[in-house]
Amino acid sequence: MAYLVTFHWGWLLASGLLGLAMGWVAVVHRGRGVSKRTSRWLAALAAALVAAALARVIPGRPGYWLDLGLVMFAIYLFGCAAGSWLRDWVLARNAKAA
């Protein structure tokens, strides 16, 4: 993991920033979100992929691509969470001030 981070820090930073931006926008976004049912399926899929990566069942290059994808996705999610929380905090402070 440490090796992936040092080797791909540029791409991981990009994923994190993308997540931060998406999280920032998501708080005030009015479009439709993903339904609960779909999100459960997506969560199960993600869990299955993580399990596959940890068990190292996918060999060679696809295995590496899966690892890379999951690391980027995890950092994206972390960025989203941070962005959303930050936006929410900013909104809440403004509302108090008003």
């Binding site: 999280g23 190292r56 060679g60 295995g63 690892d67 890379l68 989203c80």
Partner: protein, 464 residues
């Protein structure tokens, strides 16, 4: 915290560019990542002794194929690749180098090259052996046909290096190590090479033994060539040591009284036993030939040439058979020189005088037995006597003044008679010769010095 779940439903649009990022990252980073991991894995194996190492990287998975020289070495090689940062899995395709039983190594030399074959325990020792072979055989091509194998006996490298030193002493041949048994065959380069190799084999590392040493020495050759035109005798080849050299040179000087002895002999070990005992009589036989060659190789002597008259051939053969050491072989291929043209008795006298001025008939001290060293001179005297068949010849014996007159008189008579008998034995008619003794009554030099006495002790041939 509750908000996170609410908001997360709206995070999905970002996954579209994320997938694009991911695709680009995977596309551009796979090859550099693989080559980086391959380099790190190779570096991790730097201190591990392996053969035929092959590292293939697919993604973060490393396939390691190699021949290891021990189970520990094999495991540690896999472990060191596994600990390389970034490596996810190691596909272990390593195996142990096959074990050779028996463990055989060989070095074979022919005229143009040296071939190293069989098994070598480690790549490092293989390199060391090749380097040693090149150093020991400066300029000779070294061909490497060695495999790597396990199962070498302890101290194999030392034994092989010692044997490689010996291969330089061979003209051709083969040295083999089979487990701890060493066998050698072939021909040594120089005389003494066989002995030098045998001496070196005493320093073999502990545990090794010589199973067979069939190194042959090159033939021990001694040659003598008598050239009547240049009036020289050329000695070439080997003698065992300086003492034998001096003895042979002295014998040649006595036997070849009128020829110049050209001595090109070299001292070398490896002479067959009885060397001097065979060479000296063979030189005596050569001295009786008008032209001839003597070749002594190991225990075989070949004499060829022309004797001066018929009876001499049988005499030479008989004396060789008698004087040669047992276990030696002698081949005499002797023909007879065509008889020289007859001459006047006065010419005969001149020829006798000239010849006796160059050399004297020698006798054992105080006795009338002719020294065998004088056989060559007597043959020439006989040849001259045959050229003037009508001349009667007086054989005159003289002594120096030492001792009593009566003894000297008797000795001079006996010696003259001994020479006359020798000539008759050679086939000349007895009635042509009269043997007379003069004792010390007719000195040709002063009897006061040893030199003068030596001149006075003589046999003269006088044509009547």
């Amino acid at each position: 915290m509750h908000g996170i779940f609410r908001w997360s439903g709206k995070w999905w649009p970002g996954t579209v560019p994320l997938v694009v990022f991911w695709a680009i990252a995977a596309w551009t980073s796979t090859a550099p990542l693989e080559s980086d991991l391959a380099a790190r894995s190779t570096a991790a194996l730097k201190d591990t002794v392996l053969d035929k190492t092959r590292i293939e990287v697919a993604g973060r998975d490393v396939t390691l194929a190699a021949d290891a020289f021990s189970e520990d070495g094999r495991r540690s090689a896999v472990a060191s690749v596994e600990t390389v940062p970034g490596v996810r899995l190691v596909n272990d395709e390593t195996r142990l180098v096959p074990e050779a039983k028996p463990f055989v190594w060989s070095a074979e030399r022919d005229v143009a090259r040296v071939t190293l074959g069989g098994s070598s325990p480690l790549p490092a020792s293989k390199g060391k052996l090749l380097e040693a072979a090149r150093a020991a055989l400066g300029g000779v091509e070294v061909v490497d046909q060695m495999n790597l194998a396990r199962g070498a006996p302890p101290r194999f490298d030392n034994a092989a290096l010692l044997l490689l030193d010996q291969i330089g002493k061979l003209k051709d041949g083969k040295i083999t190590i089979s487990d701890t048994n060493i066998s050698l065959s072939g021909m040594a380069h120089d005389l003494g090479g066989r002995e030098a190799i045998a001496a070196a084999l005493k320093n073999l590392p502990e545990g090794f033994s010589v199973a067979a040493n069939e190194i042959k020495a090159p033939p021990y050759v001694f040659q003598a060539y008598k050239d009547p035109v240049a009036s020289t005798v050329t000695l070439t080849g080997y003698v065992p040591d300086n003492n034998v050299h001096a003895a042979i040179a002295a014998a040649a000087g006595r036997k070849f009284f009128s020829e110049k002895v050209v001595d090109n002999l070299k001292a070398s070990v490896g002479a067959p036993s009885g060397f001097a005992g065979a060479v000296v009589p063979a030189l005596g036989a050569l001295s009786r030939l008008s032209t001839g060659t003597l070749v002594v190789a190991d225990r075989e002597a070949k004499l060829s040439g022309d004797a001066l008259y018929d009876a001499a051939v049988a005499q030479i053969r008989a004396s060789l058979a008698k004087d040669f050491p047992p276990s030696w072989q002698v081949k005499a291929d002797i023909s007879v020189k065509p008889a020289a043209a007859p001459v006047d008795p006065t010419v005969c006298q001149q020829l006798f005088s000239d010849l006796l001025a160059k050399g004297k008939i020698r006798f054992e001290s105080g006795r009338a037995s002719i020294d065998p060293d004088s056989a060559g001179l007597l043959d020439r005297l006989i040849e001259i006597a045959m050229r003037c068949p009508t001349a009667d010849i007086e054989i005159a014996g003289h002594t120096d003044s030492d001792g009593e007159d009566a003894f000297n008189q008797a000795l001079s008579e006996k010696r003259a008679q001994a020479v006359a008998d020798y000539l008759v034995k050679a086939g000349l008619p007895a009635n042509r010769f009269t043997a007379t003794g003069y004792g010390s009554s007719q000195p040709v030099a002063s009897n006061d010095t040893d030199e003068g006495k030596a001149q006075n002790r003589r046999i003269d041939f006088l044509v009547r």
